[in-house]
C-alpha cells in the first residue's frame, strides 16, 4: 500500500513546516486619508485571537523613518516582523549620513516587494498594510495586501474598512480637509466599523503625519448610541426569545 502522505516534491520545500496557513492574533481595519497638510490614519487597538478579543492595547500605527507612517491589519506577529525589516532599512539609510532619507513612496515600494516575494513562496506575511507620509511637500498614501497587491490613492482602508469606511470616504472626502474635519471624518468611519465589525474595539488611535513630523494620539474611545426603539423591547415580536 502506497502511503498517500508524501507531498509531490515540486510543491513542498524544506520550508514546508514554516508556511503560514492562517493567522492567530489579528488586528482589524486601518483607514488612511490625505488631508490638507498631510496624512491622517486611524486604527483601533484590538488584537483578536479568533473570536476572542484578547489584546486591547496593540499599537497598530507606527513611525517609519522621518517621513512615513505605517498601519497594519492582520497577523500581529507578522507586523512585528515587518517593523524589524523596516527598522533595518531605515538604520542603513541613516548610516549613510548624507542628508538623504527614504520617503513614503520608497518605503511603500519596498513593502510591496517584500509582500509579493513572500506570496510567491507560499509563505505570506498575513497583513494588509497602509503606508502614508509627506516628503518635500508631496503627500503619499498607499496600501499593500498580503499577496502584494498595491494601490496608491487619496483614501485607503484595509479589511472591513474597504466595505464600511470607503463608501463614506467616497462621498465625503475632499482635497482640502482641515485637520479637524479629517479627524471627524475618520471618527465617523471608525464609529461605523465599531457598530458593524465584530473584531473592532472601542479604543483607537489617530496618527497625523505632515512635513513637520509625526504624532500618534493617545488612545481614546468613541461615544456610541444604542438608544434605539428596537433595542428597548427586543422580544416584542418573538415570544419566548431573549
Amino acid at each position: 500500500m502506497v502511503s498517500s502522505q508524501n507531498e509531490s516534491n515540486l510543491l513542498s520545500s524544506e520550508g514546508d513546516s514554516q508556511r503560514t496557513q492562517y493567522p492567530y492574533v489579528t488586528g482589524t481595519s486601518v483607514i488612511g486619508i490625505k488631508y490638507k497638510d498631510g496624512i491622517l490614519m486611524a486604527a483601533d487597538m484590538g488584537g483578536s485571537y479568533g473570536s476572542t478579543i484578547r489584546y486591547k492595547s496593540v499599537e497598530r500605527l507606527k513611525q517609519v523613518g522621518k517621513h512615513s507612517l505605517i498601519g497594519a491589519s492582520g497577523e500581529i506577529s507578522d507586523f512585528q516582523e515587518i517593523l524589524r525589516y523596516l527598522d533595518e532599512l531605515i538604520l542603513h539609510d541613516n548610516m549613510w549620513d548624507d542628508g538623504n532619507s527614504l520617503g513614503p513612496k520608497e518605503v511603500h515600494n519596498y513593502l510591496t516587494r517584500v509582500m509579493y516575494n513572500r506570496r510567491n513562496k507560499f509563505d505570506p506575511l498575513w497583513n494588509s498594510l497602509v503606508l502614508g507620509g509627506v516628503k518635500n511637500g508631496q503627500k503619499y498614501l498607499g496600501s499593500v495586501s498580503m499577496i502584494g497587491v498595491h494601490f496608491e490613492d487619496d483614501h485607503v482602508a484595509t479589511g472591513f474598512g474597504n466595505h464600511l469606511a470607503r463608501p463614506i470616504l467616497r462621498e465625503e472626502w475632499r482635497e482640502d480637509l482641515t485637520f479637524e474635519e479629517g479627524v471627524k471624518l475618520l471618527e465617523k468611519c471608525m464609529r461605523n466599523l465599531l457598530y458593524r465589525d465584530r473584531s473592532a474595539v472601542n479604543k483607537m488611535q489617530i496618527a497625523k503625519i505632515t512635513e513637520e513630523g509625526l504624532t500618534i494620539s493617545e488612545p481614546y474611545s468613541l461615544k456610541t448610541f444604542w438608544n434605539f426603539a428596537a433595542f428597548k423591547n427586543p422580544t416584542v415580536g418573538a415570544e419566548g426569545s431573549w
Binding site: R84, E88, L91, H92, N94, M95, D97
Partner: protein, 249 residues
C-alpha cells in the same frame, strides 16, 4: 625597530627567530603612511577627526568618507587602505546588527570592539588571507557612557581616552596629552581635534587635505553623526587661526 625580515617575511604564518610576524608589521606600515585619524573621549561623548589627504583636485568635496556610522550609537574612523577599511566597517555593521537582533539592545561598545578585533585578527592566521592594511578608531555611546577603542591590523584592541593613527600620530598624541579631556565637552572637543589635525598636517610633504569630523555625544542625542556644518566651520576657523598664531612666533 624596523629590520629586514629576509626570508621570514614572506607569509603571515611565519615567525621570525626573534618572535615577530613581519607581515603584520608591514600591514601596520600601510596604516602609518595614511592620513592622521584622531579620536578623543570628552566628558559627554566621543569626537573623531580625520585628515583626509586629497589625491586629486578632481575629487568632489565630501566624497571618500573616512568616518562611517556602524550603528545608531557608534562610528569608526578608518586609516590605511580604504578598501580594507570598508570591509572592516561592513563587518562591524553586521556584528552590531546581529547583536541587536539577538539581544534586543544596542551592542555595547566593548563587545563591538572585541568582535571587530577578533575579525581583524582572524585574517592574520591563515596563509591564504592577508592581514587588513587598515586600523580603525571606534567610538560609541552605550549605557556605560562614551567609550573609545582602537583596533590595529594585528588585531589588538585597547580602550583609550585619546588615540591617533596615521602619519601625524606622534605629534597628535603629544597634543592630545596636553588636553584636560575630563573637563572638555564635545563642543569644545571638536575645536581641539580640528586644531590638532591642522597642526599635524605637513604642508610641505603632503597635498591639501579635507577635514572630516564626527561625534557621538549628549548633544547629538547619543547618535553617531557628522559634526554639524556650523560647528565644523567654527572649528576650522579656530584651527587656522591657531596655526597662524604659531607661525607668527
Amino acid at each position: 625597530m624596523s629590520s629586514i625580515g629576509t626570508g621570514y617575511d614572506l607569509s603571515v604564518t611565519t615567525f621570525s627567530p626573534d618572535g615577530r610576524v613581519f607581515q603584520i608589521e608591514y600591514a601596520a606600515k600601510a596604516v602609518d603612511n595614511s592620513g592622521t585619524v584622531v579620536g578623543i573621549k570628552c566628558k559627554d561623548g566621543i569626537v573623531i577627526g580625520v585628515e583626509k589627504l586629497i589625491a586629486s583636485k578632481m575629487m568632489l568635496s565630501g566624497s571618500n568618507r573616512r568616518i562611517h556610522s556602524v550603528h545608531r550609537h557608534a562610528g569608526m574612523g578608518v586609516a590605511g587602505l580604504a578598501a580594507d577599511g570598508r570591509q572592516i566597517v561592513a563587518r562591524a555593521k553586521s556584528e552590531a546588527h546581529n547583536y541587536e537582533s539577538t539581544y534586543g539592545e544596542p551592542i555595547p561598545i566593548k563587545e563591538l570592539a572585541d568582535r571587530v578585533a577578533s575579525y581583524v585578527h582572524l585574517c592574520t592566521l591563515y596563509w591564504w588571507l592577508r592581514p587588513f592594511g587598515s586600523g580603525v578608531i571606534l567610538g560609541g555611546y552605550d549605557r556605560d557612557g562614551p567609550q573609545l577603542y582602537m583596533v590595529e591590523p594585528s588585531g589588538v584592541s585597547y580602550r583609550y581616552f585619546g588615540a591617533a593613527i596615521g602619519k601625524g600620530r606622534q605629534a597628535a598624541k603629544t597634543e592630545i596629552e596636553k588636553l584636560k579631556l575630563s573637563e572638555l565637552t564635545c563642543r569644545q572637543g571638536v575645536i581641539e581635534v580640528a586644531k590638532i589635525i591642522y597642526g599635524v598636517h605637513d604642508e610641505a610633504k603632503d597635498k591639501t587635505f579635507e577635514l572630516e569630523m564626527s561625534w557621538v555625544c549628549d548633544e547629538s542625542n547619543r547618535q553617531h553623526q557628522k559634526v554639524p556644518e556650523a560647528l565644523l566651520e567654527e572649528a576650522q576657523a579656530a584651527a587656522k587661526a591657531a596655526l597662524e598664531e604659531m607661525d607668527a612666533d
